[in-house]
């Protein structure tokens, strides 16, 4: 028995973290609100093999499993990377779609898909399977969303496309991996929101003291830390369960998504409240992470959807 990220997994994570810190700072996320996201961080992730962690070595990938990739996805969440790492590396790559930047929500035609504004390929549900379309083979109707850096659009197939899988089980597995990645991103976002707030509460003075010395503020942030503490092992276990084909894999991703969504909700509320009025502006960076967390909390199945999946699996 041993439940920890060991050295090589930590190494991949910290490499990803360093490059994201440098190439995807808050200013890059902010810039993605008004234009196509800068590809520097995305290309650097591709260079370290992060987009092809799950691709076998002979096919040019790292040939590793989800327990390596998920910590990297968490780092992408921490940076609020505007690119679709979850979809490209965790959903599309295991289906043999390797190389392009992919967008999908595995939903019906016309649903709101993130990264639709700049993705190279789209995975769309077709019957019981999935088809892959090039950008020129679909209609993308841009939509305004709360987090503009997601570049969402309604996507409908126009022509062509090729079948990726006809196997409903493969589609279900792809959905589980999408849920897992979204949970990891939410966990990363929770960490960022908490860190920003700890820094702010240490620096900001009112009544002659740092506001972080007030017990009410401390308890908000302790609550956020608490929810993060218990979402972390759930996300890691879900990665392990998927990687090892455990019978509880689907349940574990739902559990991970529920707990990470909860962590993000608690951390987000605490962050906004403890920042006070400065957090309630678009000038401060907090909103970049907060709005991403709102979007992801409902993406790939709401909290209730996942609680119901867990309920069914424990025979409730």
């Amino acid at each position: 028995m041993r439940f920890a990220l060991d050295e090589d997994r930590e190494a991949l994570r910290s490499t990803a973290r360093e490059l994201l810190t440098e190439l995807c700072p808050a200013s890059a996320v902010r810039a993605a609100w008004t234009g196509v996201p800068d590809d520097a961080a995305w290309n650097a992730l591709a260079d370290i093999g992060a987009l092809a962690v799950l691709v076998p070595e002979p096919d040019g990938g790292l040939g590793l499993d989800e327990t390596y990739l998920v910590p990297v996805v968490e780092e992408a969440g921490r940076a609020a990377l505007p690119h679709p790492l979850t979809v490209t590396a965790l959903v599309a790559a295991p289906l043999g779609v390797v190389g392009p930047t992919v967008a999908t929500d595995l939903g019906a035609a016309g649903s709101v898909v993130a990264s639709a504004g700049f993705a190279e390929c789209f995975l769309l549900v077709s019957g019981g399977g999935l088809r892959l379309y090039e950008a020129h083979e679909v209609d993308v109707e841009p939509v305004e969303t709360v987090d503009a850096s997601r570049h969402c659009g309604r996507v409908r197939p126009r022509t062509g496309g090729r079948s990726v899988t006809e196997d409903p089980d493969a589609v279900a597995a792809a959905f589980d991996r999408g849920v897992l990645g979204t949970a990891a991103e939410l966990l990363g976002l929770s960490r960022t929101m908490l860190e920003l707030t700890v820094d702010y509460a240490t620096q900001r003075h009112q009544f002659g003291k740092p506001i972080g010395s007030f017990q009410a503020v401390k308890h908000h942030l302790a609550n956020a830390r608490l929810e993060i503490e218990f979402a972390v092992p759930a996300v890691l276990y879900a990665a392990y369960a998927i990687a090892h084909g455990q019978p509880d894999a689907s349940r574990s991703v739902s559990q991970a998504k529920w707990l990470a969504g909860r962590a993000a909700a608690v951390a987000g509320r605490a962050a906004l409240q403890c920042h006070g009025a400065i957090g309630y502006t678009t000038e401060h960076d907090l909103h970049l992470y907060l709005k991403r967390s709102w979007a992801l909390a409902r993406a790939w199945g709401s909290a209730d959807f996942h609680a119901d999946r867990v309920a069914a699996s424990i025979r409730l």
Binding site: R2, H219, R225
Partner: protein
């Protein structure tokens, strides 16, 4: 990363599972109606249970073999706990001695204290209660004001301890006494081992929230504690170093870790109750949520034990676990009461368990204090 148990661990688990099933049935046949361990009658019943654990070498799996343990690692201890609670075995009425005093004796006791006290703790011959809290020292333990005055051949004790769990049924008390009258706060305490049958010691049991006589207050009125009152030196550690001894006990791995086993057992009972009573969609969601949180606690414990086995310190992160399990325990019981509806007010395991769960956020450092610790020591917020 490897989430499998070894073949030897699986064998031990099965052996224990069989033993528990068989022995619990035997014990229940012996005692008749099972009472709470926080009543005088139930306490006596559970000592019979402790005797069975002792005779089968299951009473202290993590102790060294030299002292009659099984040299178990933290993993073995986790397996033991999981099976123990799964089987529906009673709470451990000997836990103060086994899990709080014993680690301090291992760490701070001299050889004679170890040789004399530990076997008696393990056999349930000496029954220990904690002597920390006082009327004016709860969360703020440094406010302890019970005094120990050095005299020829021993100590004279004055003061009062209270909220002493099962104190009215125990034979001995360990705790902090101010031995330096000029000292303040954390300095000047001595950790003393005190038989409760001394002249000048009065123990009065009183009802906890659930009505059981599980609490006691202990009065010391010039009680003379001879140096060898427990058969060996009554001072654990050095005179004046009591705070350090007490705190190190509180921060031993096992002192800080609470196994997820009992919450896994509670949630399993909850699933049975929901099946018997019927749950609508909203209720099913609530139960699923509680299940997820229990399971997250199990996973977090596996992570924590891995870190401890790697030689890392648990530190202030233990406060996070304490907040989590104590608030989760209440939630589990509130769900059960809601499933029971108007039957919830009937005396029974769920109403009893509910009242017991409400103690969780209060004892062992209130959750308010724990949140301060998380904020200051984990997050680094200013004091």
């Amino acid at each position: 990363m490897d989430l499998t148990w070894s073949a030897a661990q699986e064998r031990t688990r099965l052996e224990l599972r069989k033993w528990l099933e068989h022995s619990l049935a035997g014990w229940r046949a012996e005692i008749g109606t099972e009472r709470s361990g926080d009543t005088r009658e139930g306490f006596a019943q559970q000592l019979l249970w402790e005797r069975r654990l002792y005779e089968a070498d299951w009473s202290a799996v993590s102790w060294p073999r030299a002292y009659g343990g099984r040299d178990g690692t933290l993993w073995d201890w986790l397996i033991f706990e999981e099976e123990y609670w799964r089987a529906g075995a009673p709470q451990r009425v000997t836990q103060n001695g086994l899990q709080i005093l014993a680690p301090s004796v291992f760490e701070h006791g001299n050889q004679e204290q170890k040789d004399l006290l530990l076997p008696r703790i393990k056999a349930g011959q000496d029954l220990w209660c904690q002597g920390w809290s006082e009327p004016n020292a709860g969360s703020d333990l440094a406010g302890v004001s019970s005094r120990a005055r050095r005299v020829d051949g021993g100590w004279v004790l004055d003061g009062q301890k209270t909220w002493t769990t099962r104190g009215a049924f125990c034979s001995h008390l360990f705790g902090l006494f101010r031995s330096d009258p000029d000292s303040e706060r954390h300095r000047g305490f001595t950790y003393l081992l005190v038989p409760l049958d001394l002249d000048g010691v009065t123990v009065r049991g009183f009802g906890r929230l659930d009505g059981d006589e599980g609490f006691a207050e202990v009065f010391f009125d010039g009680a003379f504690l001879p140096d060898d009152a427990v058969g060996t030196d009554v001072v654990l550690g050095e005179v004046g170093e009591g705070w350090r001894v007490a705190v190190s006990a509180a921060s031993t791995e096992r002192g800080l870790l609470r196994s997820p086993g009992r919450y896994q057992a509670t949630v399993a009972d909850l699933l049975e109750l929901s099946e018997a009573r019927g749950a609508d969609a909203a209720m099913r969601r609530r139960i699923a949520t509680a299940w997820m949180r229990v399971d997250a606690y199990r996973l977090q414990t596996l992570q924590t034990v891995t870190a401890l086995m790697d030689g890392r310190d648990l530190g202030s992160e233990a406060s996070l676990a304490k907040i989590w399990w104590s608030e989760l325990d209440i939630e589990l019981h509130e769900i059960a009461l809601d499933l029971l509806g108007t039957d919830a007010e009937l005396e029974g395991p769920w109403s009893k368990g509910h009242q017991f769960s409400l103690a969780g956020p209060i004892y062992a450092g209130t959750n308010e204090v724990q949140r301060n610790i998380v904020a200051e020591r984990v997050l680094g917020l200013p004091r």
